[in-house]
Symmetry: C2
Subunit: 132 residues, 2 copies
């Protein structure tokens, strides 16, 4: 079956959400990935700072046995971008991916969300994805 890559751009996120704290963001991602039945095999979160030393956004990833999660935050813009990708090579993890995306989205309380669902080709006969 094809892989599923969920791409969400969250606009107008709540200032109080964990956009500046990489440890809190990593903990949120780990917790929700586990709750969605996904298996974390690695993580890397990088904080950015403004020129005056104050905290800016965070870029982070979880490596999953099922593929990956990526998150980027821009607190000064109220912007968060999310990726949840499950390859579905061995098992269909699409429901877990949707659950994880919903949980992360909810944590940032966005005013608007632009969501793309991309079916990814694993060579298992998903020609329909090739023309997107």
């Amino acid at each position: 079956m094809p892989g599923l890559h969920l791409i969400a751009d969250l606009l107008g996120c709540a200032p109080a959400s964990p956009m500046r704290d990489e440890a809190a963001l990593a903990a949120l991602c780990r917790r929700e990935a586990a709750a969605a039945g996904l298996t974390v095999v690695g993580e890397l979160f990088h904080p950015f700072t403004h020129d005056d030393g104050t905290r800016a956004g965070v870029t982070g990833v979880l490596l999953l046995a099922e593929s990956h999660v990526a998150i980027h935050t821009w607190p000064e813009r109220g912007l968060v971008t999310l990726d949840v990708y499950v390859c579905n090579v061995n098992d269909d993890r699409s429901a877990g991916a949707e659950r994880l995306l919903a949980a992360l989205r909810e944590a940032f309380v966005p005013a608007h969300v632009a969501l793309h669902r991309v079916r990814r080709d694993t060579g298992a006969g998903v020609a329909a994805s090739a023309d997107r």
Copy 2:
């Protein structure tokens, strides 16, 4: 301007390509990211092994100042999936993203490529992306 997320699924990749060696894969990604004018701020590559201890695929990411690169390989399937995402919040890095994707794609000598170009919403007035 909107961000650009390039999603490529490479099918029928050459067996000799660096699909099983996480150090070679990381070096390839770092080198081509630099050649494309992108700035690496972190990297994480995870090798998978089969039950008999032989090497399977690799999952890896580069964290970029401009967003991220993600790669997953399945050598037993001749399959590689690539993501190159540049947020374009400060500068338009789309040309660098295209260059990086082309270089990585070339390294695996795929027989077929399914490519998606997703415009990502940064709140800078890209309503056209919201309905994709």
